[in-house]
């Protein structure tokens, strides 16, 4: 039985939250949409005027924009497979019975990287990856690798961002996949283990089908978060050297905050928002069927 409730009561319960989120979450977007049709630079406020779709035209023919999109895609395709491979390995180890206390402890340590302030993660990279004083280069020295200039060289800086993204988000992927592994009915898993001694066969034919939802969740959320990625890269490289690590969010920040071209930044934001909404729709379609 569903409770019959007057509309006024419903509005009283839900209205304030909707109003608040509309004011802080939607009004600025509409404002951005409006500004995206203007030539609007904070250094030349007098020149403000309606330019229609010109900003969009500039963005879509701007090599900086496409380079940033390309870099963001490259980061995704290099970091996420590593995160999934390592994450799956970690999840499989933790999923095995035995050593319960140590596994709980390991699970707790997995929670730490993803909760760490993203800006601090970037600062840690600065300290640990420094060419002369960095501990990572010291460790590489122990195995006979020459010190690498991680932050100062364009290619290496990109690799450093990948490494750091892997550090921060592999534990997240591992815990999501671990949750997926626990959805395999224990009796099916036990029966399979009696049939075959190869853990690979069990993974491939028994566990993998149950892992698909978790994997899809990981892919969509990591795409969204890679598009959002700002704090860590900003503190680590500011998008440099040159624009070697200028991912999409960093580009928009540079255009808006360091070039003061709000109109152009708004157009870039709206394009990014469109991508985001498609992703969110996809995620909702796949994971919240039961509510609709």
């Amino acid at each position: 039985m569903t409770l019959r409730v007057p509309r006024r009561t419903i509005a009283a319960f839900i209205g304030p939250a909707v109003a608040a989120l509309a004011i802080v979450g939607v009004a600025p977007l509409l404002y951005a949409l409006w500004k995206s049709f203007h030539d609007f630079n904070l250094t030349q406020l007098a020149r403000q005027r309606w330019v229609g779709l010109q900003n969009y035209q500039t963005v879509l023919t701007d090599s900086d924009f496409w380079d940033a999109i390309g870099r963001t895609a490259l980061l995704f395709v290099s970091a996420v497979p590593v995160q999934i491979a390592l994450g799956l390995a970690i999840a499989l180890v933790l999923h095995r019975p035995g050593l319960t206390f140590w596994k709980t402890l390991t699970r707790l340590s997995l929670v730490l990287p993803m909760a760490t302030t993203y800006a601090v993660v970037g600062l840690l990279a600065q300290v640990m990856l420094n060419q002369k004083y960095g501990v990572i280069n010291q460790m590489l020295g122990w195995v006979g690798v020459d010190a690498i200039n991680f932050i100062g060289d364009p290619t290496n800086a990109f690799i450093a961002v990948i490494l750091w993204d892997v550090w921060q988000w592999t534990p997240f992927v591992a815990l999501v996949l671990l949750a997926g592994l626990s959805t395999v009915p224990p009796e099916i898993e036990e029966a399979a283990r009696l049939e075959t001694r190869s853990p690979w066969t069990v993974l491939r034919h028994v566990q993998l089908p149950f892992l698909i939802p978790s994997l899809v969740a990981v892919l969509i959320l990591r795409t969204a978060d890679t598009l959002k990625l700002f704090d860590m890269v900003f503190t680590m490289t500011r998008g440099g050297p040159g624009n070697a690590t200028e991912f999409i969010a960093i580009l928009i920040e540079r255009v808006g905050n360091r070039q003061f071209d709000i109109g152009l930044a708004a157009a870039q934001s709206i394009i990014m928002l469109a991508i985001t909404i498609v992703l969110a729709r996809l995620y909702i379609r796949l994971f919240y069927r039961e509510v609709s």
Binding site: M1, L3, V5, T9, I10, F13, I14, P16, A17, L21, V24, G25, A27, L29, Y31, K35, V93, W102, K103, L105, L108, S109, L110, L112, P113, M114, A115, T116, Y118, A119, V120, L123, Q126, V127, M128, K132, Y133, V135, Q138, W167, L175, A179, G180, A217, L221, K228, F230, F234, T235, A249, G256, M272, T276, I277, A280, Y283, I284, F287, Y288, V291
Partner: protein, 275 residues
């Protein structure tokens, strides 16, 4: 024959666990030890592992460099936005869990969509609006903007929590003549406290960690701790010890909260798609 093999695989597993733990924890170890080094020790080449620790960096950042003030700003912003999100979010979550109305699913989806929106999309319009309204560099601007991610988290987790409370309780109270608000306040909300606690912790963590809005909207008076920490990077002589001391001060409270809510952090980050 089976016993030694099992023992060996147990060892292998133990080593794997240790490596995973080390992978996660080592950067924190390095952060804390660097924060206890003088600039001279921090700039040793190669890095040193054993040294005489000093608290000088903490003294300096807290009392000379306004990191103390920025931590208080962070605390004010994170607790206020969390409180506001709970205040607005709990009744909304109750309505989503209990009432049937038109547009409910759309509303629900809209809340979840906010998880995907990048702050960089919002930050410039908000910068201009806050300048117009005289809200630039105030706590209020940040508190309100952080609602964009704290409110959806609270609504999502609390809706789930309210759904798990048997409807019979509501129905019984209704027969007694209790008002809808009374049922929510005196019966359901107390039972939903675990969800409220978890969502509060998660919103606190996310708002405490936020950098972009803070960096753009609050450059001076309301500057939060993460924005303060990155301001040390400007200039030629980078004070590693001080940066790591500030980082430690920022990260420790979040990590404590993360451990408290460790079972729910993944649920929060996936908006409940993964339990």
């Amino acid at each position: 024959m089976a016993a030694p093999m099992q023992a060996r695989s147990l060892w292998a597993e133990g080593i794997a666990l240790a490596l995973i733990g080390l992978f996660c924890v080592f950067p924190f170890y390095w952060m804390v030890t660097t924060s206890l080094k003088t600039q001279l020790v921090a700039l040793a080449d190669p890095p040193v592992w054993w040294f005489t620790p000093t608290l000088a960096n903490y003294r300096e950042v807290l009392f000379e460099d306004r990191v103390g003030v920025s931590l208080i700003n962070s605390l004010i912003v994170a607790t206020s936005t969390t409180a506001l999100a709970v205040l607005l979010g709990c009744p909304a979550a109750y309505a989503l869990a209990r009432f049937e109305f038109r547009g409910k699913t759309d509303l629900w989806f809209w809340f979840i969509t906010n998880r995907f929106v990048s702050p960089v999309v919002l930050v410039f319009p908000v910068f201009l609006i806050s300048r117009e309204l005289g809200l630039r560099d105030t706590h209020l601007a940040l508190i309100l903007m952080y609602l964009t991610f704290t409110l959806p988290i609270v609504i999502w987790i609390c809706t789930d929590q309210f759904r798990s409370i048997p409807r019979e309780l509501d129905e019984a109270a209704m027969l007694e003549g209790a008002s809808q608000w009374r049922i929510f306040r005196s019966i359901c909300l107390p039972l939903a406290m675990p969800g409220v606690a978890v969502s509060s912790i998660l919103s606190f963590i996310f708002s405490w960690n936020e950098l972009l809005f803070a960096y753009i909207l609050a450059p001076n008076a309301a500057k939060t701790a993460p924005a303060m920490a990155i301001s040390f990077m400007e200039g030629y002589d980078v004070p590693y010890g001080k940066i790591m001391a500030t980082s430690t001060l920022i990260v420790v409270p979040v990590l404590i909260f993360a451990l408290l809510a460790s079972k729910h952090l993944v649920r929060g980050l996936t908006m409940g798609a993964v339990k």
